[in-house]
Point group: C2
Chain length 349, copies 2
Amino acid sequence: MSTQKPTRTEISSLGEFGLIDRFAKHFESKNPSTLKGISDDAAVFRFSESGPATVVSTDLLVEGIHFDLMYHPMRHLGYKAVVVNLSDIYAMNAVPRQITFSMALSSKVSVEAVDELMEGVKAACEEYKVDLIGGDTTSSLRGVVLSVTAIGEAMPEKIVYRDGAKVGDLVCITGNLGAAYLGLQILEREKQLYLSNPDIQPVLDEATTLVGAQLKPEARKDIVAALARVELVPTSMIDISDGLASELYHICKQSGVGALIEESGVPIHPDAQLKALDFKLDPITCALSGGEDYELLFTINPKDVDKVKYLPDIYIAGEIVPKEDGLKLNTKGGNLHEIPAQGWKHFKP
Amino acid sequence: MSTQKPTRTEISSLGEFGLIDRFAKHFESKNPSTLKGISDDAAVFRFSESGPATVVSTDLLVEGIHFDLMYHPMRHLGYKAVVVNLSDIYAMNAVPRQITFSMALSSKVSVEAVDELMEGVKAACEEYKVDLIGGDTTSSLRGVVLSVTAIGEAMPEKIVYRDGAKVGDLVCITGNLGAAYLGLQILEREKQLYLSNPDIQPVLDEATTLVGAQLKPEARKDIVAALARVELVPTSMIDISDGLASELYHICKQSGVGALIEESGVPIHPDAQLKALDFKLDPITCALSGGEDYELLFTINPKDVDKVKYLPDIYIAGEIVPKEDGLKLNTKGGNLHEIPAQGWKHFKP
């Protein structure tokens, strides 16, 4: 009820990372049990003097921003909400053990819809062997909001941060990029068609893989298990949630290095490759800026190259270079392009 | 895009606790590191074989449901969002160490408003000596949503759950109830006056304590510290967030007991006592059903009564009785009244 009109700066002028950077510097950790605060995929703390540390990550998923209930089945949404958080735990080279799951629900949502949502949560808990140990349930005036906190464990010396990449390290990417982004394009196209004529039934069968990658992604627990098996601890790691470019930017900024990526080394999903042409999109752009792949991006010391060579689904896509050399992509045509620091653009106007 | 119309049950027909009960039974904990799952103020886990366990609690705060930005200053809101979560950690007889803080913000919210919010978060972190270690920041289509996860530590044998109350135990209440509820009534009254005539300035000075209790509550870290000092571990404990009646109901239900409360033993805030008359409300009703006091309700073995007798701000308000005797209030007039199981009514129509 104040009448004074203060200066007003739009959040969109800062973007998400600008906003976080703005206040993160005011929050220095003071408790000795805090091993890592804001700035990585997950935070790390340990209350005992020895044994595993705890890794914790949290995400807020908002209807209309992160998901569209018009085409996202509640069951898949519950599954995805859990998986994207577990992905952050794996990105620390840790193993998730528990989650909390909170939801704000509008009166539009029925008990049956919540049952579906929770079935998805349960399926994810079973698949990844994590326990749902808490949460909060409330109403909302409009829209569904989900908040998930994932908790995992790892010995402190095995935890991998974003800031450990060194010049000469090899850049590794798991799996296939671009599928989730193309899946989203397909769903959005079918939604527009449906809105213009509700009698038209969506044609999604020919794109099950891409649509599935968007609606029900998986986290790379197999990769973290494989790294442990060959006793390889990456020098840095991050999960690819906002697109390869954005994640590379985080690794390079926090490690104080640059990177040279070979376009031919970036694993793009074959279906995404094809579908990109349909949408008149460049496949490499989809991989760089698409996001929601939930694959892992990590760097390794070159002496460890033999350890990853025979692991399935890990691709060496480039190397870490001095900071002055920036972030560059060597295209298939042999041109060197600057990789733009693409952030997550939810706040952009 | 499904055309099938499934059965539809309104969430309001179940209520919050009904909804949680509905799915909680499907989520049994399987990891040996999970010591306590859904059903208490906080969950408990431990990754090491000895040393402290970790206690974790999470809350979702939704604009228009939990707070009204018309009268809730952003700074106080940030403070309160943290404190109400820390209160859950104290309610386990644990000490909070870390929090994560996530926010979904609409375009209505300016960077300056977020600065204020985060100043409140920082003030709470400093007051309670906890580190902000992570969170998430996103946009929302409408309204502000905050999600806080609080993390604390305690030796497993010191953790107090809701299910340990025994017949004959004494029921203890800290501090003064009803203040936050009366504060809310005052704020709502001034809001209505302001909406009907924006030239009227709110008169809040005469009610600073009550309004303050609503807008900027504190958690009882002093009580948990005092209990540790006298080496008293309560048999059960819960924080009073939804009103004394609701919390008593949880303790009794989970402990399989009843309770007999003396109206004369329930500590009601003197200002709330007076202000209740203004609003033609019964002070004991405000204490039983008001909520947001963030005081502690706990039970102790009668052999420990000397330990609490000389601690400040702890009131013995009744005793635990057999389940068959139910939850009863012995009024000042000498009548025995059933205490209704008042839940949190956000989902009620």
